[in-house]
């Protein structure tokens, strides 16, 4: 390397030193200002406040919580609430989005048009507006005394959605375990059946065995142990309901908004994925005499998934990040709780750092999971 501007490596070094130097200088300047400001305002730093009493009420808590609990516990509840809405939202949005995406390709003109209008309208209105809209709609529902009952045991009122629940019994664990064993057994059997098909070319039916293992085993365990299944129905007591599982209007509004909004984007992704499989693939498979179900499962879907997975991943990430809009309607997710916390303690930097940490962790986990799945479905290149 020569110390001259005409040397490429020297130029590169100078540029890098300049960029990194200015970024570092900026960071240092900000850091020094912050330290001075924190000193001047007598704001404590560090995470010691996490062990202090939170003193904030939380309506939606998956684990037991009292306002006298610590900030740390309140934050954990916030994370659980975020995950609760994100995971359920991802599953529902995938189902709804796939259905709408397929509907857009339907031969039935009316169905295709309805799906198109759904996508166009939902995509072009801000999510926050839709969220506020759903929340207003839910609050306009009748009071618990006049609650609507669309299905027996399910109540819809301005206090949210009430569902009957199954009373938990220690023996239920065994039934669940039997179900897991059944699924694992099915997967093993499928692998064995595949291997034998590879050897002799004869396809073997998996579904009878799957049915037996996944349904039969838990049912047998259930009968053998005489597991009690008691249902707790919600009932009106005074001005509100007791019993059953209550989903707050905030949760339902957020879930509805996230699901319907993201489904519009997923629908477009699914549609593009299916369209990306060329006609020749279908025709060739048909010419080989494959049944439509097999063509779809073995020929079309694996190719469509390759196109679908990467953008689908970013939609999952978007949904998770968008769940932070909860703060606008008062659903206590991580952002909302951290926001209350930073208002109470004044430790803004720590509060925002925790929000970012939680979301970065969730984002990275989803990315890793989906990348792993994508690598499995990806084309094996030369």
């Amino acid at each position: 390397m020569r110390l001259s501007w005409s040397d490429r490596r020297f130029r590169g070094l100078v540029w890098q030193v300049l960029v990194v130097g200015s970024v570092a200088a900026l960071a240092f300047w900000l850091w020094r200002n912050t330290v001075t400001n924190l000193d001047a305002r007598h704001i404590a730093t560090g995470f010691a406040f996490l062990k202090r009493e939170a003193g904030m009420p939380i309506a939606d808590a998956l684990i037991s919580y009292r306002p006298s609990d610590t900030y740390l516990r309140a934050l954990v509840i916030g994370v659980l609430n975020t995950l609760r809405v994100a995971i359920v939202g991802i599953v529902l949005a995938t189902l709804l989005g796939t259905a709408i995406g397929v509907a857009r390709l339907s031969k039935n003109w009316l169905l295709a048009k309805v799906a198109t209008v759904y996508v166009e309208v939902l995509r072009d209105i801000p999510l926050l507006l839709q969220l506020l809209f759903w929340y207003v709609v839910l609050q306009g529902l009748p009071a618990p005394r006049q609650a609507l009952q669309p299905v027996t045991g399910v109540f819809v009122s301005n206090r949210g959605l009430l569902l009957p629940t199954i009373e938990w019994d220690a023996l239920h664990g065994w039934v669940v375990l039997a179900g897991i064993v059944g699924i694992a057994g099915t997967l093993l059997y499928r692998r064995a059946a595949r291997a034998r098909q590879m050897a002799d070319g004869k396809p073997r039916r998996v579904w009878p065995v799957a049915l037996l293992l996944i349904l039969g085993v838990p049912l047998a365990v259930n009968a053998a142990l005489a597991v009690p299944w008691a249902v707790r129905w919600p009932e009106l007591r005074g001005f509100n309901f007791a019993g059953g599982t209550a989903l707050s209007p905030e949760y339902v509004a957020l879930l509805l908004a996230l699901t319907t909004y993201t489904a519009a984007f997923i629908a477009e992704i699914v549609r593009a994925g299916i369209l990306s499989v060329s006609r020749g693939q279908w025709e060739a498979a048909q010419a080989l005499g494959l049944r439509p179900g097999v063509i779809l499962a073995r020929i079309a879907m694996p190719q469509a998934l390759r196109v679908i997975i990467p953008p689908l991943t970013s939609q999952y990430l978007n949904l998770t990040k968008n769940s932070s809009l909860a703060v606008a309607i008062g659903y206590q997710d991580i952002v909302s709780i951290a926001n209350t916390m930073l208002n109470q303690t004044g430790q803004a930097i720590e509060g925002i750092a925790m929000i970012m940490l939680v979301f970065l962790t969730i984002s990275l986990s989803i990315s890793l999971l989906m990348n792993w799945y994508n690598a499995r479905t990806a084309l094996v290149g030369r």
Binding site: T94, T98, K107, N108, Q130
Partner: protein
Amino acid sequence: MSDAAAKLGMETAIAGVPEAVPHAPPAGHGPWGWVRANLFSSWLSAALTLVLAFLIARGLWSFVQWALVNAVWWTPENQSQACRALRGIGACWAVVTEKYRFILFATYPFDQQWRPALAIAIFVALFFVSALRRFRRKELFLVWVAALTLIAVLMWGGVLGLPYVPQERWGGLPVTLILATFGLALGFPLGILVALGRRSNLPAIKAVCVLYVELIRGVPLVSLLFMASVMFPLFLPEGMNVDKLLRAQIAIILFAGAYLAEVVRGGLQALPKGQYEGADSLGLSYWQKTGLIILPQALRLVIPPLVNTFIGFFKDTSLVLIIGIFDLLTAAKTAIVEPAWQAFGLEVFVVVAAIYFLFCFATSRYSQRLEAELNRTTRH
């Protein structure tokens, strides 16, 4: 995709196999032939058509009843009794006729509201002119500078006999348009630089760019806005104060930069390697190569996703509601805080949704036309 979802996709798509496999059904002639082929091609399809038609007709009927037939369009000065009587039966559009000035311009001085109205018109004209093909040239940049200066003069005033209006009084649609336009106008160049940095073979620059993009894209915009509203003041030296709107604007620019960088990077990667090598072999410097050969082609490739990202940002500016900046959505939400109108949020949200929809739908249509145009020109 989860397993269950994959299964669902499979099952529902089985019904859709025929459209993927063309077997040229006899289309028939005239409208009746079309109806048979597209609405009643099979029993299942016919049943679906009838059910959907019934649901749509019923939905439309009750909507017309609510929105038009039973609606209240006007009430005397701030009195909502007529609306309350019809709650749940008819829409109360009176809340919109009563509050539309507040929803559009928020707290901007009432007698000066022609100024933000004019600013909105200039914004729309600016977008329109930029979208036209025959104006796509370098002079457009000057038009933008002129238009944005004019808007600044209109909004602030203080010159040419216009009374000065402080930024805290701005609100409504102009603020939404300002946040979106400046976010993109400044976020785009930032995005290009970062995308180039991420593709650079200088490790330190690449690392800085990757860190920036991944950090911003990994967290929700809400948390960046919180950062702008509560942490930003701590970052600045004593006595230096930055306005709240400007802080949110900076957060939006940084956010837009990271997302646009990824879109631009897609274009840079999609460009054939020969273009890079060809430019190198001509002995062009890095900036000549980038400015004259690479960027013009790469940006053209990513026009459709760019426009989609623009639409996304326009919608995302509504998030400033959470830190209490008066954009269109916040103004709408505030308009119904008054007890007399509290019950009529639905009507206000429908109208505001229509405004957002208008902007986004027009842009997305434009993007589709661009895409078609692009496909035509690249194929030949």
